[in-house]
Symmetry: C2
Subunit: 145 residues, 2 copies
DNA sequence: CTTATAATTTAGCCTAGGCTCAGTTTATAC
DNA sequence: GTATAAACTGAGCCTAGGCTAAATTATAAG
């Protein structure tokens, strides 16, 4: 039961929520470039139809999001053609994949089932700070010995 | 380097992203009721001005969100008066607080600093499944021995 | 080589959640 | 008890990210 002292300072609490909102803004971008990178590796190219079906959205929704990614310099694509990552997009995709893998392997390491780890790492990866990520890596290393 | 087999089935991958999007929809609601509950405990009442400053948004933004929470049955409030949680709101606030505390204590238990734990638990709490939460609790118990 | 199908885009609509600026209501201070 | 300040609301705008329906372009089949 919290008492008077139990509330953090308003501006600190506000800063945290603001930070979470910032993270949300980049989530879609990260998820899309990560997926596009996967599709290129595995299929040789990334097509909108696959992006849409794997993101679980309709094609017009994927199309609109991809237009934003292009506007912001993460991808390149000609109308009706397949999608390419820019250097900026590749960098973000690599960072996202690494982070995703660390969170996933960490969950496995502490005993979470493969299924839940797959599901939870998708949402968690965007909200883990560098510091926490380092701790996750340490736990993974300890467990693999 | 992924090969042909490395992509999950499209419908499974889609289901995960859809699930994360669902979680996002309830995030704001959970954060607001949790905060309102805290304010009532500590201050005796929850006022919009405090909700806004602690969420890090302007008063009109908080006002609009609170209108939605009222529409959806989580809070009650008369115009220009303070905010009360409905039973549904209280239930959600309790669940959110519990979940938040588990994630926070788990991060501390594995060696994350207090500051980072405070920050990361805010974003992570909405993306941790029941199964993973149980594992987190187990780790907390092991560490407190 | 034409026709049918599949992929992509465009247009238009919706909700959530940000914002500013202006107005109204409530509380506070003389 | 009235003036000022603080709290709250309302109007209107923006972006992101969902959707459907319809048009366009590219591809495949005969």
């Amino acid at each position: 039961m919290p008492d008077e002292d139990s509330l953090p300072e308003a501006h600190e609490q506000a800063a945290r929520f603001t930070q979470v909102r910032e993270a949300h803004k980049t989530e879609a971008t990260e998820d899309y470039v990560e997926l596009i990178d996967d599709l290129i590796r595995v299929n040789g190219e990334a097509r909108l139809v696959d992006v849409a079906s794997r993101m679980g959205v309709t094609q017009p929704t994927a199309s609109k999001t991809l237009a934003r990614l292009q506007r912001d310099g993460f991808i390149n694509s000609e109308p009706y053609r397949s999608i390419f990552l820019t250097d900026q997009g590749k960098t973000l995709a690599n960072e996202s994949r690494l982070r995703h893998e660390i969170v996933f392997n960490f969950l496995l390491a502490i005993g979470v089932s493969r299924d839940a780890a797959v599901r939870d790492s998708e949402g968690m990866e965007h909200h883990v700070s560098e510091e926490t990520l380092k701790v996750f890596e340490k736990v993974i290393r300890q467990n693999s010995k």
